[in-house]
């Protein structure tokens, strides 16, 4: 079974600061692997371990700053995957979900023979939760989201989907795109050995021109602004003395 997991480099949200005009300053934000993508990589690796397939491949698209960053490449490859395929171009910064899915589809087609694509629930930054569903339709594969368990059943997969009020158990014929939930597994934390080994794994980075793709977009981002901050009283008592707790209880009673 040839398995691909999709990963995205996203800015560390703790390092995003807000400028006086409410726009975001991402210049100090280091890139990291999207937190929800870690579950996709883990699901791909666990399935590979269960089926004895080859190590899963990673596919990522973005800017050269992200994809040619060796620290980030190691962060991607130190979690059990065998190789990384990237599509890097400056024009790929903040493209919409359809453009992202189109390029991923082109890359997956170019890799060839892929049986299963695993996506996270959503990207760590934009989190529209749409790339997996769009990708499945573009590739013409079986296409499911909210996948909370994947079990190999011969040539097929048994998949559990956790919905709002019910759970579905489905038999899926490959090829498929599965978008997994954030609680499908607990992603492994790589050790020093894995991080060192990741430096030796094969990496292929294509430019936008290397793929047959159209990434036209009819969605325009008008603005991205920090929301107005609510004024809060910020009356903070230091220390858990009985007097302080009584005062907190008094304040709390006023709003009950």
């Amino acid at each position: 079974m040839k398995i691909v997991a999709c990963v995205k480099a996203v800015p560390e949200e703790q390092d995003i600061s807000i400028k006086p005009d409410h726009t975001l300053d991402l210049s100090k934000a280091e890139l990291k692997v999207g937190q929800y993508d870690l579950n996709a990589v883990e699901a791909a690796v666990q399935l590979q371990e269960a089926t004895g397939s080859e190590e899963p491949l990673l596919v990522s698209i973005g800017t050269p700053k992200g994809l040619k960053n060796t620290k980030l490449q190691k962060a991607m490859l130190s979690r059990g995957a065998g190789a990384l395929f990237g599509v890097a171009d400056d024009s790929l910064d903040s493209i919409d979900a359809l453009a992202t899915a189109s390029i991923l589809a082109a890359a997956i087609t170019k890799i060839g023979g892929v049986d299963l694509v695993v996506c996270g629930e959503g990207s760590g930054d934009i989190y529209s939760q749409q790339v997996g569903p769009l990708l499945g339709q573009l590739l013409g594969f079986a296409n499911l989201n909210a996948v909370s368990r994947i079990t190999p059943r011969g040539e097929k997969l048994e998949v559990e989907r956790t919905l709002e009020n019910e759970v579905e158990v489905l038999e899926v014929t490959l090829p498929a795109v599965l978008s997994v939930t954030t609680d499908i597994n607990k992603a492994r934390i790589p050790g020093l050995k894995e991080i060192l080994a990741a430096g030796k794994k094969p990496i292929t980075v294509w430019g936008a021109g290397d793929l047959a793709m159209t990434a036209a977009s009819n969605i325009e981002v008008i603005s991205t602004l920090a929301p107005p901050k609510a004024e809060r009283k910020q009356i903070v008592l230091e220390g858990d003395s009985d007097e302080n707790i009584s005062q907190l209880a008094d304040n709390l009673r006023k709003v009950l």
Binding site: V172, N218, I235
Partner: protein, 305 residues
């Protein structure tokens, strides 16, 4: 605000159907609902396109080719989609088939030289305003942005002929989800727990406080998804429940934006944390720096009097 010619609604739950039907009426000259399942529940729009029953043999996803064909034929200007999990999947399928992207999780939606939506990005740190000029725009819509309408209006019902999908997904079983049903979105008071709790037993301290003041208990993502000490339905934040309580008490919670955005509209925010540098103290009305094992029992006792 100018109106769009034709607005479609795709929903799987009745509550969302009622809200989105109202949204469609506000945004469009004519409205239609795409519906599967119990036919008697469908309504609220000028037309209902009825797909058929839902069963193990035919789950909603099996209607995808039928829905795509309907949308390609009818060419609505906008499809409002319920932001349930199945809704999100269908939004992506419809959008890809129509060659457009999805305006995801719209918290506000207007018509202004296209369809303009506002949504949260970067874990709630920012609001993004986006405009779609696609011939057919697809938007998933957050719950509660339109008032639900009475769906009593008699609609023109059209039975849509079924187009069989590729036989790649077979439903073996559907079961009611185990676990508790709790609706934190509707809770007026929330006591929330975070990483400051070191064992599941300690959660009782928060539960006792919640019981004393008639609050629901919520938690941060790690408590639900990593520790699994609480049901996922209790997890507050950008990828969990977006709550609207009047009172929120955060205990042992650092105050990261991804969590706080889920309660940011609370009238009063109270913080209890042993770390005086915790970010939550900059975002609270009242706070106390102290050990939750000391503060909680004492506070519960005082409030129970």
């Amino acid at each position: 605000m100018s109106k769009l010619a034709k607005v479609f609604v795709f929903a799987e739950h009745v509550d969302a159907m009622r809200e989105l039907a109202q949204g469609a009426a506000q945004l469009g000259e004519t409205t239609a609902l795409i519906w599967a399942g119990d036919k008697s529940q469908a309504g609220g729009t000028d037309t209902v396109y009825y797909l058929g029953e839902l069963s193990n043999e035919r789950i909603l996803e099996h209607y995808a080719p039928t829905i795509i064909n309907l949308i390609k034929t009818e060419q609505p200007s906008l499809v409002l989609v319920e932001s349930s999990r199945k809704g999100r999947l269908m939004a992506g399928i419809i959008a890809a088939a129509m060659g457009t992207s999805v305006l995801a999780d719209a918290a506000q939606i207007t018509v202004d030289n296209g369809v303009v939506t506002q949504r949260m990005v970067y874990g709630g740190a920012a609001l993004s305003t986006e405009r779609s000029t696609a011939p057919t725009t697809v938007a998933t819509v957050s719950a509660g942005i339109f008032e639900a309408t009475d769906t009593g209006k008699a609609a023109n019902l059209v039975e849509v002929p079924f187009i069989a999908p590729a036989p790649t997904v077979k439903c073996l079983e559907r079961k009611i989800k185990a676990g508790e049903s709790v609706n934190l979105r509707a809770a007026k008071r929330i006591v929330a727990v975070g990483r400051g709790f070191t064992s599941p037993e300690e959660l009782q301290l928060a539960e006792q406080l919640a019981a004393a003041i008639g609050a629901e208990v919520g938690c941060t993502r790690p408590i639900a998804e990593e520790e699994k000490w609480m049901d996922k339905a209790r997890y507050i934040g950008v990828s969990g429940v977006m709550a609207k309580p009047e009172l929120y008490i955060g205990i042992g919670i650092s105050g990261q934006v991804q969590h706080m955005v889920g309660v940011s509209s609370a009238r009063t925010i109270i913080a209890i944390n042993s770390d005086k540098n915790a970010m939550i103290f900059n975002q609270c009305d009242y706070g106390i720096v102290g050990d939750l094992k000391t503060v909680l029992p004492a506070l519960t006792a005082k409030l129970s009097k």
